[in-house]
Symmetry: C2
Subunit: 228 residues, 2 copies
DNA sequence: CCGGGAATGTAAGGAACCCGACAGTTATAC
DNA sequence: GTATAACTGTCGGGTTCCTTACATTCCCGG
């Protein structure tokens, strides 16, 4: 089998995306196996990758761009999360054989790898290493979600906002979310988020702009997130 | 290899414990493989199965009894959940090679199956079906936790209590938890839980006793849980 | 360059909930 | 069988946060 440089790059990227690279690294054969279980797809901003209730025939590995996950009807949608490159979505529904539990919509231009259920399962049945890696990835996600439960339970909106900013900031310390989106992500009201951001701005720990928050003092922000 | 009736029973129980039995059922060889990766252990009430921060060398599958999961120091512990037969605990830490994230304590007499990491991983590496089943189990747990996040975000204490009662009730409709425990499970105060239970009692949907809540009208209780 | 839609800023009133305190009740251990 | 710890029931003050409402600012397409 001959492979172009682009393929190589893609396969290497696949290897990095699943969990810690030092833990049971995928062999080159494993990578090939995985790449044959689906295709790369591209989505325009605002389009759906899958919708709540659809039969779950595939899972998706985000390569580029960001994706919003939400539940409920369009007029009163409830954002469940926003994920970026490296995230796997739709796998819960696909593996458990149930309809998708949430809808996913591309925020910007999105490139993803689609794993087709019928092609993936036979491959996994003969590739324990990949299955194990996928298991570890899902358990890591589970742990993250459990931590989120603990945060939601006892922390004030101020601490929650600080925590979200630290987690979601890119390498330039910027978070490109509207205050309304931050509010739904935290399950708070837009006004409370606005008030919290004002407090952080007053303390000189962040700057705010249109659809944008810039982290100025990550260290202090982490302290605020740990309070309460 | 000769197997006693007790072994057979145990292996069959293992098969039922992991997710939906109609989905990729384990073969008898898989069951044997799994049973060789650890031993059955028994724990007295109040004793620890593992403690937060310990090196995670094993995961546990609960066979009988209930287990409390909690985090933080003993004097101000924070209950993360209570699990019964069929639940797998400690697997997150074990697979990701990190110390246990929470402590687990036997509520009553507990029988569990201990999977030793060093014996389990080689078995899984050659048994994709088991790994896949484990993956499905963890994803199901992830979905449950995500649902809990949604509940915590927008629902009132009354609705949360109603939901917990419906989920935790045994076949006689009884929930043997103290109001304080219910409160920590929901991240609410004991007083608020007490107030909610009074309201449900006033409506004739539950009865309360010492360390006990009895569900009288599950149907209406589900409606209350869905409100808000 | 300007109009409309989207996002941000601000304020007041009220609901839900937490905290501290204490009295009454039930289980459990000695 | 009694002491003690654990649990339930209840009250009032205080806080956080939501809701409603409206003014202002910003972006983008024509």
């Amino acid at each position: 089998m001959e492979e172009t440089p682009a393929d190589q790059q893609h396969l290497a990227w696949l290897a990095r995306s699943f969990g810690r690279p030092d833990y049971l690294p995928l062999s080159p054969e494993d990578l090939s196996t995985l790449s044959e279980a689906g295709e790369i797809i591209k989505k325009y901003p605002g389009t759906h990758i899958f919708k709540e209730g659809d039969s779950a025939t595939a899972a998706f590995l985000i390569r580029e761009g960001e994706v919003d996950l939400y539940r409920g009807p369009t007029d009163q949608r409830e954002v469940v999360g926003r994920v970026g490159p490296g995230a796997v979505i739709g796998d819960i529904a696909m593996f458990s054989g149930q309809p998708y539990i949430s809808s996913s919509r591309a925020v910007g231009h999105v490139t993803a790898f689609r794993f087709d259920r019928d092609r993936l399962l036979p491959k996994l049945a003969v590739s324990p290493a990949i299955t194990l890696r996928w298991l570890v990835a899902s358990l890591t996600q589970l742990e993250r979600t459990q931590r989120r439960v603990l945060n939601l339970m006892h922390k004030t909106v101020l601490a929650q906002v600080a925590g979200l900013l630290v987690n979601e900031a890119d390498d330039r310390g910027e978070v490109a979310l509207s205050q309304a989106t931050i509010a739904t992500l935290l399950g708070a009201s837009r006004q409370s988020v606005n008030e919290a951001l004002n407090e952080l701005k007053r303390r000189g720990q962040v700057e705010t702009g249109y659809r944008l928050v810039r982290v100025l003092d990550e260290k202090k922000l982490r302290l605020v997130a740990a309070e309460d």
